[in-house]
């Protein structure tokens, strides 16, 4: 590859675009506050376009092919979403305009609040959190405040299963609470005895990912929730895996007290190379007053069907705002578009086919890769990237070899409870041909692992760069262009 840095294309005096002209008199600049130099690059618009286009071509993307990163829900996102979010009447709205002048935007937000309440089985919803982890922090702070408000001041512990996403314990400690880890049992469920041993009057709640990161639905869902409720604790649902459940089960019905959704996973906003996301938080009625505000409400003088008028309100016992303004509106528009196009049946079919695709792909590769938990999976599954008759080959080698075949590797080395984990989430938008292609490649690689392991150790051979030295990057950090 070797595309130079944009700085290396710079030529003194060159400019890309021309700012508008000055049509007012100049005023004296504050001499003591002026900067001396601004060392940004000086490039033409042609340089900019070619440079970033060439960089884009070094990326793999869902628009190129299957991208089955477990827990990331890399589904194809309809292009209409992009058109919708770019409508001038949405992109040009200032967040602090009078409510009267933003009724279209508030309609979209109100509707998405209502849809997510319906899909999740919750009584109230805040769209403010900007990402999944942000929603987790919000949820943990809500649980904490709920207990404090009820005079329950000794609760300081969040129970986190050992299969949980890393954001769960991180959100817990950011909230000033301690983490107690709960092990999994031999079938990949939460170990009920271990859970029972930890529930006590110190427990704020449990963070419950269901289906869990093994892609398995918790077989004792009601019991888990009852055990935690039994000690006065609350149950937080990590909605990262909601793509398995839309229209299949409403977490709120099962007693989940609070849950975040990932609009950028389940509800179809592209991931943008790392973001933006959106992490709305839904709660049962007893937690509604603690949500971060403002939340959009229907003006009591109007109705949703006829000439509705929307307004913002702050829940009375709110944990406080978690973000400036109202939420990731551009992402919310995409979620609105997606839900309106799919409807009740469509969101159910999406989940059904996400689960069908995962189980089908699993059935194709089952014999070739060790499967630590042999059950019907949900939207994803985990196999071991370490074969008995190819002991020198690791999950990382298999992942990098997949790149040579023009597909994206699965998540690897997560969840931590499976050694050499390969976590595969194909999503519902992949066709049977696409899954067969991926399965064929995985089977070929399993054979290569035994016959030509060196090919895997040195992979990728067919990528813009070879395997990169991460240790060197961390030991001797070069984190910016040196002028």
């Amino acid at each position: 590859m070797s595309e130079p840095l944009i700085y290396e294309l710079s030529s003194p005096g060159r400019a890309g675009v021309k700012p508008p002209h000055l049509d007012v008199p100049e005023s004296a600049l504050p001499a003591n506050l002026l900067r001396e130099d601004l060392p940004l690059p000086e490039v033409s618009e042609v340089d900019v376009v070619r440079h970033y286009l060439r960089l884009s071509q070094l990326n793999y993307a869902i628009d190129k092919g299957m991208y089955p990163l477990g827990s990331c829900t890399m589904k194809f996102n309809p292009k209409v979403n992009e058109v919708a979010a770019r409508l001038a009447g949405f992109t040009g709205v200032h967040p602090l305009q009078d409510e009267e002048s933003v009724q279209g935007a508030l309609y979209v937000m109100y509707s998405v609040q209502e849809y997510l309440k319906e899909i999740g089985g919750f009584a109230a919803m805040s769209l403010q959190p900007a990402a999944g982890a942000h929603g987790e922090l919000t949820g943990v702070l809500i649980m904490r405040k709920y207990h404090l408000d009820h005079g329950d001041t000794d609760r300081d512990t969040i129970l986190v299963p050992d299969s949980a996403h890393g954001t769960n314990p991180a959100s817990t400690s950011m909230s000033g609470l301690r983490v107690v880890e709960i092990p999994s049992d031999a079938r990949g469920n939460i170990d009920l005895d271990a859970l029972r041993a930890q529930v006590c009057a110190r427990v704020v709640g449990l963070m419950f990912t269901n289906p869990n990161t093994l892609g398995l639905f918790e077989e004792h869902t009601e019991e888990v929730i009852n055990i935690v409720h039994g000690c006065g604790g609350l149950v937080y649902g990590d909605g990262a895996n909601m793509n398995a459940l839309t229209g299949i089960m409403r977490p709120g019905d099962a007693g989940i007290d609070v849950m975040h959704f990932n609009l950028h996973k389940t509800f179809s906003t592209p991931h943008g190379g790392g973001g933006p996301g959106s992490g709305p938080v839904g709660v049962a009625a007893h937690l509604a007053d603690y949500l971060p505000g403002p939340i959009v409400a229907l003006d009591p003088e109007s109705t949703a069907d006829e000439d509705p008028y929307f307004t913002f309100f702050d829940p009375p016992k709110s944990i406080g705002r978690v973000k400036a303004f109202w939420g990731q509106f551009g992402v919310i528009v995409r979620a609105y578009t997606y839900i309106r196009m799919l409807g009740s049946e469509g969101v159910r079919k999406a989940a059904e086919h996400a689960v069908l695709n995962a189980n089908y792909l699993l059935s194709r590769i089952k014999g070739a890769y060790p499967l630590p938990y042999d059950r019907i999976c949900k939207h994803e599954f985990v196999v071991e990237g370490h074969l008995k008759d190819a002991p020198d080959v690791h999950a990382l080698d298999i992942a990098k070899r997949l790149i040579d075949y023009g597909v994206h590797p699965p998540t690897n080395y997560f969840p931590l409870i499976v050694p050499e984990a390969l976590m595969i989430e194909p999503t519902e938008t992949e066709s049977k041909q696409s899954l067969d292609n991926y399965a064929d490649i995985l089977l070929t690689i399993a054979a290569e692992a035994r016959e030509t392991p060196e090919l895997l150790h040195a992979a990728p051979h067919n990528a813009p760069v070879r395997r990169l030295d991460e240790v060197r990057a961390a030991r001797n950090p070069v984190l910016r262009y040196a002028h």
Binding site: P95, I248, G272, K323, E345, V355, L468, L479
Partner: protein, 459 residues
């Protein structure tokens, strides 16, 4: 689109390969009483129908881009070069995930490296991360970084009352479980000296904003030294407007330890408040305490340059409850937009944009100041935003600007009484390169037409 690609035949083949008969068989582990709930969602729409509906909904909003707008207060109407949306519309960028597999993510990784470099250049700092959700959450992460730098032993945080009110609120929300002592009050007239005097050896950081929420430029020369000395190492964090840095001294030049802010002015739309971009930079000695993703340069096994996410032992997916933050998804695509914006304008273009903002705002202030009943508060230099004392509540004046002028609709400034009760009748007016002289003159004329007598509204 037709969302599910499966044909009936394929579905049957797949179910057979799994060894089940029906899709429902895949969900037998879900308790029956919860399985297949009735969902009351609206009937599905085709692509044509949803776009027609959305186009209608979009018309219910007043579009600030095509209306005379003088509203800022943390989000600004700026001109975005066409090349920005071109680049972020490339499917290879916007449909990629976080670059976990570096070998097939070099485009994203190098772009982030360039973004981090440009944020360092802009702020004069040594290291920048790959982004936060917005300026407010970046401010909260600055507090947490400072708290961690002192190993959670210093609990006092001083926040200037003129830091954006939403940012101050988010800091309180984020830190409610940390038992911090947050001081600084909410009187916007509090002098900087008084805030610096609040710093002691128990103080982890002082956060100030320039231009502050009232638009005023704060001269921070020498303040870092005072803060470091008084607090024996207390950190100075500065919230900045990135466009202003085209013209003004960056935080690194006056010794700040953390520089952060809202990146929305760097080519992002208003988008009703999001997605925006929290930019964040610090000094190298604090790199391992900062939150967020970092991209670094390295080499591949053939010795060729390449980029990877690095210093990941700070992050949640490695360190779990010991991580510096829980952040995972960030604002990657928005950071790319800002990168392209800064590249397209370049070192001179950004300065020109900053000067346009400065001159136009000062022109607007001069014409408004001449109006009867309106006074511009001019006790400090300002950048592109300033405060006007008005003869009536700002809400009334804004309603007049919106509704009562023939063939003209104007979005007025921000009502400061919403955040500072003592600033009743005070409007925060923002002027950018997007406001033509004609627009500014009409705004002043409209303000002048507001019916007042003896300083009292007649409405």
């Amino acid at each position: 689109m037709v969302y599910i690609p499966h044909t009936d035949v394929e579905r049957r083949e797949m179910l057979a390969a799994i060894g089940v008969n029906r899709l429902e068989d895949l969900f037998q582990d879900i308790p029956e009483k919860f399985r297949y709930p009735h969902l009351d969602l609206p009937e599905p729409l085709s692509e044509m129908e949803i776009l027609q509906e959305l186009q209608f909904l979009a018309t219910l909003n007043l579009n600030a881009n095509t209306t005379s707008t003088f509203l800022g207060a943390g989000a600004y109407r700026h001109w975005t070069p066409s090349v920005v949306d071109y680049v972020i519309s490339r499917g290879e960028f916007y449909t990629a995930y976080t670059p976990y597999q570096a070998e097939v993510s070099q485009g994203t990784l190098q772009a982030i490296f360039e973004y981090e470099s440009m944020i360092c250049d802009l702020t004069g700092m040594e290291v920048a991360n790959a982004s936060h959700y917005d300026g407010a959450t970046a401010a909260a992460e600055a507090v947490i970084q400072a708290y961690n730098v002192f190993r959670k032993k210093r609990a006092k945080i001083v926040i200037a009352p003129t830091v954006h009110p939403h940012y101050r609120q988010v800091i309180h929300t984020y830190t409610q479980g940390m038992e911090l002592d947050i001081v600084g009050g909410d009187d916007p007239t509090t002098p900087l000296d008084q805030l610096v005097e609040m710093v002691d050896e128990q103080t982890a950081c002082l956060i100030v904003q320039t231009p502050d929420f009232l638009g005023r430029l704060v001269n921070l020369e020498g303040v870092a030294d005072q803060v470091h000395a008084r607090g024996k190492g207390t950190l100075l964090a500065v919230v900045v407007n990135p466009i202003s840095l085209g013209l003004l001294k960056p935080p690194g030049a006056y010794g700040a330890d953390i520089a952060l802010g809202e990146g929305q002015p760097l080519g992002l739309g208003l988008n009703f408040g999001g997605p925006y971009l929290g930019f964040y930079a610090t000094q190298m000695q604090y790199a391992r305490q900062m939150a967020g993703r970092l991209v670094g340069k390295t080499v591949d096994s053939a010795g060729q340059d390449g980029y990877v996410m690095t210093l990941t032992t700070r992050e949640q997916h490695i360190r779990r409850d010991k991580a510096t933050s829980n952040i995972c998804s960030n604002e990657g695509l928005m950071a790319l937009a800002a990168t392209v914006y800064m590249a397209a304008l370049g070192k001179h273009g950004l300065r020109q944009i900053a000067e346009l903002n400065y001159h136009k705002a000062h022109y607007a202030a001069s014409v408004i100041d001449e109006l009867d009943g309106f006074t511009v508060i001019k006790n400090r230099p300002f950048f592109n935003e300033f405060v006007v004392r008005c003869p009536a509540p700002v809400g009334e004046i804004n309603a007049f600007l919106r509704n009562d002028i023939e063939e003209l609709e104007i979005i007025g400034g921000y009502d400061l009484a919403l955040d500072y009760p003592r600033l009743e009748n005070h409007m925060l007016v923002a002027v950018t390169e997007m406001n033509s002289r004609h627009e500014i003159d009409l705004f002043a004329e409209a303000l002048g037409a507001f019916p007042v007598e003896n300083g009292r509204s007649h409405r």
